[in-house]
Amino acid sequence: MKYIDEFRQHDLAKQLAQAIAQTADPDRHYRLMEFCGGHTHAIFRYGVQDLMPANVEFIHGPGCPVCVLPTGRIDNAIQLIEQHDVILCTYADLVRVPGGAVSRTAATLPPSMAVAGRNSLLKAKAGGADIRMVYSTQDVLKIARDNPDRQVVFFAIGFETTTPPTAVAIKQAQAEGLTNLSVFCNHVLTPAAMQAILDAPVPVAIDAFLGPSHVSSVIGSRPYEVFAEQYGKPIVIAGFEPLDVMQSALMLIRQLNDGRHEVENEYSRAVTRNGNQKAQALVSEVLELRPEFEWRGLGLIPNSALKLKTAYAEFDAEQRFEMPAIQASDVKGCECPAILRGAKKPQDCKLLGTVCTPENPMGSCMVSSEGACAAYWSYGRLRNDASKQSRRTD
């Protein structure tokens, strides 16, 4: 695979590992937050941590749109199906994520949909909800065309990378006059999240950032410059292949060693300073900032999400249907907020592997395989100390 295999080479990995070991100051601890779940995934899938010196540590960031979706939004989607019998289209990533522990009185629900405890789209589907897993917003348009008598709602999630395809679909729906399609918009913005982490009341335990990869393909590297400058944190826009991650780590270590704090671009084959301006223009034509939005694990973040503009209000599911704000009820004992700021590690959470597993996730860091807890649990718990291993439950 061109542009993939070259960036996974074992020999180069060994060389880069040596270079990092030589560059890292043995007397210094480097805490590098990889912002994206894509980085987290690569680190665990390829075992990158094994190639890093002990004093270079990856802190897993909030960069997975499934992880940070508040549970109330899942509950909203399930309510939508229950109350309005819509066809709900979703990327498959979302279907296993449980909603909140909303107490439901059996009386308000059709018996087939009543579920004790926390519901997920997969369970709602088993209970009779018409949920379609889609691969692309083009599939959503097709479903709407094929079902003119049904209301079709697209459960849109994703960062800046995934937002433009939603915007394209909305514009296309308008052009085609598809009156039965609407979008339940949950698109969020990465710079706002980075700012929230940096602004946290407890001081941040992060020295530098591996910056978003494919998000930056769309928005460019420029939006991160302000953070490097204002907070004095080096940032390297890093590709998702394991050599990209290692090279970016090396570049961050060099900046830290040099006392620099710049935005560098390791992923220059796909990221420019200004990004994809056609995509950006499309998004701003259709969507606009929400004053604030809740991020699971991070709380309310101002200007961190998008909604449909008034001109496209007819395609906004939140306006077409009654969709009350549902308060997320976070699980007591979940350490996600601290983990996302680098203050704690998954293995510090008492729920890990006992009540909280990928099959039954309690916090944002466990819901997708890219969350810090899930990646640690599924790929990395070998490295854990013996006392923790005894918690293994299968």
Partner: protein
Amino acid sequence: MTKKFASSLNLKSGHVDLSHGGGGRAMAQLIDELFIKHFDNDLLRQHNDQALFDVPAGRLVISTDGHVISPLFFPGGDIGSLAVHGTVNDVAMSGAKPLYLAAGFILEEGLPLADLERIVISMAAAAKAAGAPIVTGDTKVVERGKGDGVFITTTGVGIVPEGVNISGDRAKPGQAILVSGSIGDHGVAIMAGRENLQFETSIVSDSAALHGLVAEMVAAAPAAIRCLRDPTRGGLATALNELAKQSGVGMLIDEACVPMKSEVKAACEILGLDPLYVANEGKLVCICDAAAADTLLAAMQQHPLGREAAIIGEVIADSHGFVQMRTAFGGSRIVDWPVGEQLPRIC
């Protein structure tokens, strides 16, 4: 000991979902907490994809049946017990003692786990009663709208005792035709359970495992039994036509001798059905040497499942393979193969 799964199956209000068929932890949990728990035997607990057991040299018999009944629960049984009885009986109809069962489940997404548990418990009890443990199995989950709650395909193996030689092609003119009890109960109980037919009876399905009855019969007259068949789909009429065709003979039965409950008769009158074509799941037809008929009848009537057994007719020579019947009214007619499924008639 650490618990095996973070939280146990939600048997109260949970549903089968696609992850239960995915081969991962959810499926392993379903198998452990439902199937292995209730079927409960060492072979299954080995978690292998097959079951291994010793057999003596001899004649082995194998039979398989898919079970697709609607409703899943009906008076007198459910798809679980039925799936055991259906296959145990097909094995027993060779004169064999059933040894082991295999069960393949095809679950529809959305099936309440509580229903599945009820079915599995009923199946386990039926298998235990039949002395034929379910030693291997398989579970698939299909999307909602691509199944009907649950389908169960069971396969059984058994060993035919020495000196027993039973097959549908062994009927000869002069032999006697016996039936083990009243006919049509199962079909009527099922139809009464269907939503779209608004009638109500006290009839319950006769679903039962017949291996015990067969064992008594084999003990009483091992060499005299020529054919055995359970008159399931298509009822007594179809079973007799099948045997006539296989053996190249005719049959002559006496309507007045065929045991039948008055409610079954009444339900069939209402729906315009002929009870001779209505399904049974706990009855057998036996063709035996005429000389042994009374001995066999007595042996059958000793068994709880054969108490109402009767000699209903005899095998005759007929190159056309017709099944004829003397009617209770005093005439005669052919009892032909059915044309497709029996459907309620208005005229």
